[in-house]
Amino acid sequence: MSIWEYANPAKFMRTTEGALPWLVGSAAICCVGGVVWGFLTPEDFRQGSTVKIVFLHVPAAMMAINIWVMMLVASLIWIIRRHHVSALAARAAAPIGAVMTLIALATGAIWGQPMWGTWWEWDPRLTSFLILFLFYIGYIALWASVEDPDSAADLTGVLCLVGSVFALLSRYAVLFWNQGLHQGASLSVAPGERMSAVYRHPLYLSMLGFFLLTLALILIRTRTEIRKRRLAALQAREMRA
């Protein structure tokens, strides 16, 4: 029983069909639970009630990056093993990643306003997320522009690979460019820096919720792509017959 069996579209559809209700249910519970729990936490000494935004901002930012990594892996699997489901999954994941990046940017900017006194600041992390957003948009645009599905998969795969290297490169270039006012990693293990448990636990739940939500959405969108591909194949066969 190997994971490659799920490269078979039919098996993928059958397995996800069973798993989805559970996935969606648990995603809803964790998301709502985490966010509501976070909403009920006490105010932070320095940041007041705005600290509650962390329960949206951090999970969204994490997923924005994780989704791109997933797209990179899926693109590699397509390039090396030519499994269509993998290419379709990458295509499916991209809009989700773009929205997560947007949420991270928006919540970051809104949070920044009272904290830093400015709606936008070219802080390294925010800037890197803006660049990531540009990469997502380019990727999505390329998929939409190329007509032949296999060529589109190949070209977007190469773009994802090159884009990943440059996204990483940009991260360090941007750090060089502006030392920035973003606080250090809020979940670091350095003793002084650690977030208190009161905030950490709802945050973990929110992060889990966002993760499950992302997984559910990717699976649903991949199923959509598989259906569209199957329909196109059937129609093409009809026309030839």
């Binding site: 380019g138 645009a141 190949d154 070209l155 440059f166 941007v174």
Partner: protein
């Protein structure tokens, strides 16, 4: 390979080849910016490094689709792909031709435009050096973008969208070098980074561009 280079250079410098377009655009931009932000030396001088670099970027972008589009249209790209010369080599030559006709003129003309934007004289060596080191990367990354979008109708806009984010590291270090030139600070660190990026791009991107071309020529 030399033959290909000479052919591309001759094509570019012929009438209608677009030679000089990049420099002309750069000139127009250098004239437009003061109209936009005001003519004061105090306003222009601080932003001159950035404007010059962004201008170079955009000027490069203008002629990118020419790298492969013409050959694709008349079928010579297919011939190149099946020729004994490896496609990666052909890509590198075409990027080189693009640099000679677009990047190099920019490097040479930049001091004059720096003058228009009140760039302090002591920054000119830094400006020219950073452009000389950075524009080859711009041409090669541009070739990658052109390879991906060759054959697409109205691929020009998509080309810009794909390529400009890739330009960001080169831009950051290039502009920083120029800015440090203004202040008279040491430019060693960003110079090394810029050179490193360009070398890595020149070595690795032809592979990606050739892969994209093969997809599009199927």
């Amino acid at each position: 390979m030399i033959a290909l280079l000479i052919r591309d250079l001759r094509l570019a410098t012929r009438a209608g080849g677009g030679f000089g377009l990049g420099v002309a655009f750069f000139l127009i931009l250098s004239a437009l910016v003061p109209f936009g932000v005001g003519p004061d030396r105090a306003t222009l001088a601080p932003v001159a490094p950035g404007i010059l670099w962004v201008g170079a970027l955009l000027a490069c972008l203008l002629s990118l689709d020419r790298i492969f589009a013409l050959d694709h249209e008349d079928g010579s790209l297919d011939l190149l792909a099946t020729a004994p010369l490896p496609l990666e080599g052909a890509v590198a030559i075409k990027a080189l031709a693009h640099w000679i006709t677009t990047g190099l003129p920019l490097v040479l003309a930049a001091p004059i435009f720096g003058l228009l934007l009140h760039l302090p004289m002591q920054a000119v060596p830094a400006l020219v050096l950073s452009l000389a080191l950075g524009t080859p990367a711009l041409s090669m990354l541009g070739a990658f973008g052109a390879a991906i979008t060759v054959g697409l109708r109205r691929g020009g806009l998509l080309l810009s969208l794909l390529v400009l984010p890739l330009y960001i590291p080169t831009l950051i270090f290039g502009a920083e070098i120029t800015r440090r030139g203004v202040e008279g600070q040491a430019i060693g660190t960003p110079l090394v980074f810029l050179a490193g990026i360009t070398l890595a791009v020149l070595a690795l991107i032809p592979l990606a561009a050739a892969a994209a071309l093969r997809v599009n020529l199927r």
